[in-house]
Amino acid sequence: MGGYGVVIPAFNASGTIAETLRSVAAQTVRPELVVVVDDGSTDDLAGVIDALGTPVRLLRQENAGPGSATTRGMAALTTPFVASLDADDLWLPSKIERQLAYLESSPATSGVFCHLRNFRNDLPDAPEAAAVPGWSRSTMLIRREVAETVGPVIDPPGGRGEMIDWIARAREAGFALDMMDEVLALRRIRPGSLSYGRDAARDRGYLEVARLAMLRRALNKAGPG
């Protein structure tokens, strides 16, 4: 079974990163490398990670967005498989094992995602809560060539939708991305987190993603040159 690395972009995530990293350390198949990319945090992320004592490579950059930080982390990995995870979400222990097995048995599949279940920051996980297909950073396990071919994860203005854009580009490049029915990841919901609630500035990110998809379509229609 091929080895995998993990990319975790983190911005002021000192309150959640320990739990997130523990869920990685608890995987039944251990990662070869865990890269946390500190996206210009102003909190004590490094201190929290140090105190944990789990092996982590910590990279730092000026604040540029979660997509940029994800790209930076992916570039630091040389493993055949690449997984990514938000700094406040959690994996269930068999997440990677199940997904690696899926990819091993499906050579034509380039990347696999899974269902996820939301949990609230201030409440225990509720296994009976509804699960949704998670086309997101925290559910993704890809073959490394996908990252190399698709290129950077681009942050739209407003900060939301960068994975939608990247996954759409991967599909357009012809990579088969599958969705597993199993719930293998948990998504933290809390007021103030990037994905909580709705506001106009963040919706603009989605609109930018849609605009870019239409631009690519128009370019493809026009043909090369």
């Binding site: 996820l116 939301n118 609230r120 409440l123 509720a126 009976e128 809560a129 509804a130 949704v132 297909p133 998670g134 086309w135 997101s136 939301r160 939608i164 996954i167 759409a168 599909r171 998504r187 919901i189 007021p191 994905s195 909580y196 609630g197 709705r198 106009a200 919706d203 603009r204 989605y206 609109l207 930018e208 993603v209 849609a210 605009r211 998809a213 239409m214 379509r217």
Partner: protein
């Protein structure tokens, strides 16, 4: 078409933005998004901001002038797509910049529908946590 016809964006699930005059509309509820021809973008901007549709008839656009039947077809399509609803209210005047923008367009009125991102957008958990106090409904074991 009615004598006075104003419209409003159909719901708060319909979000839109103009990128250098090019309108993009997204329905957050079903993940479909919508692109427009250049003249369609300007007319969407006008209608979504409450400009009376009647005020658009006869204006220079798309290398010609906007005809009543063409505009009616376009608006009917936007209503069918669930992007606009009729509005019984005072209309807004057409801004000068939109008038000039319309005159500079070269394509006929058109809107295109895309659903290739729908599965990616509609499952985003943000759409399930609309009300902080209403989510999640967790039944605590008693």
């Amino acid at each position: 078409m009615r004598d006075s016809s104003a419209y409003a964006v159909a719901s708060r699930d319909i979000v839109f933005e103009s990128f250098d005059g090019e309108a993009v509309v997204l329905n957050l509820a079903n993940g479909k998004y919508f692109g427009f021809s250049d003249s369609g973008s300007r007319v969407w901007q006008a209608l979504s901001s409450g400009v009376d549709a009647q005020a658009l008839i006869g204006l220079a656009a798309g290398g010609s002038t906007i005809g009543p039947a063409e505009l009616d077809d376009f608006i009917s399509h936007l209503l069918e797509l669930g992007l606009l609803v009729p509005l019984e209210a005072a209309t807004q005047p057409l801004p000068d910049e939109l008038l000039a923008g319309l005159a500079a367009t070269s394509e006929p009125l058109n809107v295109s529908v895309h659903d290739d991102l729908a599965d990616l957008i509609i499952v985003d958990p943000i759409h399930e946590v609309e009300e902080p106090l209403g989510w999640p409904v967790v039944k605590q074991a008693s």
